[in-house]
Symmetry: C3
Subunit: 305 residues, 3 copies
């Protein structure tokens, strides 16, 4: 893999993806072998909006490689408050760190920022834009549990606003997955995403009912339907309730169905699913560590074993 910056999952070829996932698998199999690999490396953390999970996961990944972080802290306590531009901020921080992780509310910000720095930069989410390491850990979890061959996946919930979903759907065209999208009509895939998927030759179907396709699925990827998308609470409750699953729902699924969720969940997945073998969403979150270790290691000049 030869990318200076990781801005979008779209920049990664199938070969790039397999390289990262293979390297992540090697790390997961023997993490101790990587414990001192980047002992003098500092990762600059620039989080312009809150993100516990992603930030902790990158922090853990860097520390598990023997390195450490330098954290800008919250925007409230930063120079940004004084009117500093993002370009200036990243140019200052590249003097402290060997690589940067950037989360910023503005779409396109990561690409822009990357043009001002010489150290590698990873996009950890740029507003409605991209979040490539989330896509990579999703792919890793799918590959570990269901494999990429002859894969049928259902993606359910808010398909209109979900950055995670769009990025994953795009990446899955690389492995020729059959993709079923399940959502209320008001939250279907945006026309532009649907168009792109068709252009890339993806096999895509859309549904309003999960039970139409649940028995065929190898993977069910559930996302949250947000209250604020609906004009009133009662409409929200009625709609959202149709896209919640519990262990009873899953009785109609394959025995080895993998259930995923980017977390945090509210009530899209009932707690009685947690104890079934279907539940892989906590493992999915944990997979962020070896996947980000692999990506950082490759960017910082490690060679895959």
């Amino acid at each position: 893999m030869r990318h200076d910056h990781i801005i979008s999952a779209k920049q990664l070829s199938r070969a790039d993806i397999e390289e990262v996932l293979d390297h992540a698998a090697a790390i997961a199999a023997d993490p101790g072998a990587y414990a001192d690999r980047h002992a003098d490396t500092l990762l600059g953390m620039l989080f312009f909006e809150p993100s516990t999970r992603t930030k902790m996961s990158f922090t853990t990944a860097m520390k598990r490689l023997g390195g450490d972080i330098v954290d800008m802290g919250s925007v409230e306590s930063s120079s940004v408050k004084k009117g500093e531009s993002l370009a200036d901020t990243v140019r200052v921080v590249e003097g402290y760190a060997d690589a940067l992780v950037l989360r910023h509310p503005m779409e396109g910000s990561a690409k822009m920022a990357s043009e001002f720095v010489d150290v590698p930069l990873v996009n950890a989410g740029d507003g409605a834009g991209q979040h490539p390491t989330q896509t990579l850990l999703d792919l890793y979890t799918i590959r570990e549990n269901a494999g990429f061959d002859d894969l049928t996946i259902g993606i359910m919930g808010d398909l209109k606003y979900g950055r995670t979903v769009h990025s994953l759907a795009h990446a899955l065209t690389n492995v020729d997955a059959r993709q079923h999208f399940v959502s209320p009509e008001s939250l279907q895939l945006p026309r532009s995403v649907r168009y792109d998927l068709h252009q890339e030759g993806a096999e895509v179907r859309e549904h309003t009912e999960l039970d139409e396709i649940l028995p065929e699925l190898d993977v069910l990827y559930v996302t949250r339907i947000q209250r604020e998308r609906f004009p009133d609470e009662s409409e929200y409750r009625e709609v959202a309730g149709q896209y919640q699953i519990d262990s009873e729902t899953l009785a109609a699924a394959k025995d080895d169905l993998t259930v995923m969720h980017p977390l945090p969940r509210v009530d899209e997945i009932a707690h009685d699913v947690d104890d079934t073998d279907h539940a892989k969403y906590f493992q999915q979150a944990h997979n962020g560590v070896p996947v980000r270790m692999a990506l950082l290691d490759l960017m910082l000049g490690g060679e895959p074993e």
Copy 2:
């Protein structure tokens, strides 16, 4: 000591307590010997409410053992804001860390959280509930300065709401200390705590005036009387003023009286006490480091020397 999680000082036997304190003393005597003991260990810090002192102390302890932390950051910047349950949060974070420290405003939260994770969890305060490492560092300070044999201790201030006091009083029944409680009538020990202490055979007396028992004390443990417990400012001032000490007050005490305070103090202890040999409250705060190092080391599988 064989405890997977440390939730309450009540779960610790006298032997457990002595084991932790002995190990802390060994660490304090030769901290350099422990500097690389847990070099690849990450401690997950989950602080759902502010706590500078406890958080810095745990952080220092882990780093002095050669390890590092992964910090969730403030609740404002976390997934909790999006409605995630505590059970989900700890299940995600256990994928990042080798042990967890949890502070949460809800009594019972640490016990509940511990049932969802496989890594060791330490309760760093659960609302009005327990804060076992504070109790251990208090015991360590008492043992180092006054010893446990034939011990007479006075505990003064807010005895009604003080979690620290209840936990310490309970633990002191293990060493057969004579306990004197000194407080305004409105802030006396809760009936339930008094009952428990009697059930455990503790020798307990209650007072409204410090000078009744000051000359007998080996240790005086002072706590803060909070303004918000009183309906009006003038009543607060009148009452609180009677439970403040200065070097003049201490003229009536034994020469080797140990004065403790969990800190932060406001004006319960006058600054002229700081320069006397009685003042052990800063040492007490510092003792949190070897005590937490000892506890973490034992939980993570170290053997006491």
Copy 3:
């Protein structure tokens, strides 16, 4: 250099300054040689007001020396909220750390705090008072780019309120620099600073127009003119506009003019200056790392090579 605490640039002799800068240069030339120098050292970070840049720079410096930090976090989450005095806070934290860095809004706070602790303390800004490491990194940048011999420097912008400027001006009297101050009349040097500089024998001139002296300058140090210093927006715009520079302005300057700025900038320096050889303000920010590494190393007992 034998200083227990670094409170003010004024306490540093010319020899002290040269020692720190020489050591910083040695570190910058071979940073790897210092990567494990203070492997078991913890630096306590006490930032009572926000400061991204300074905090990240000190953090980086300590970690590049192999050590680590223990951070108090924001004041909102600290014991200070409960009414703890600064003296108590530093006395607690010195039990956790091997050295302290303090930023506090109150002038004189660093000096006061240093009297309560036995570990070395560095002032990272005390309100309108001192910020000695900023001065040292400014001096380092000047020495690297223009040298101290026969130096002519222009300092422009808000000279009335700028702590950075006062401290730098004072330090430059050590190297006999010719100092030109350029500002609107309402933001000229305070009388007390001007008086001090004259007392120290400094060669000082004041101007309202940059073009009067630009061609003579070896260094131009630009600072921000803050909106809030002016009663209305239109007056601010008119005045501030006269103290902004762009590449066209610099056509009248020496080819090797060094342009500096303590950052963050808003629009005092146009972006077209960034790509010229004059622009040293990002390098200046980066220089904070070797300079703070040098200072910490000297304070912690390292010997200059």
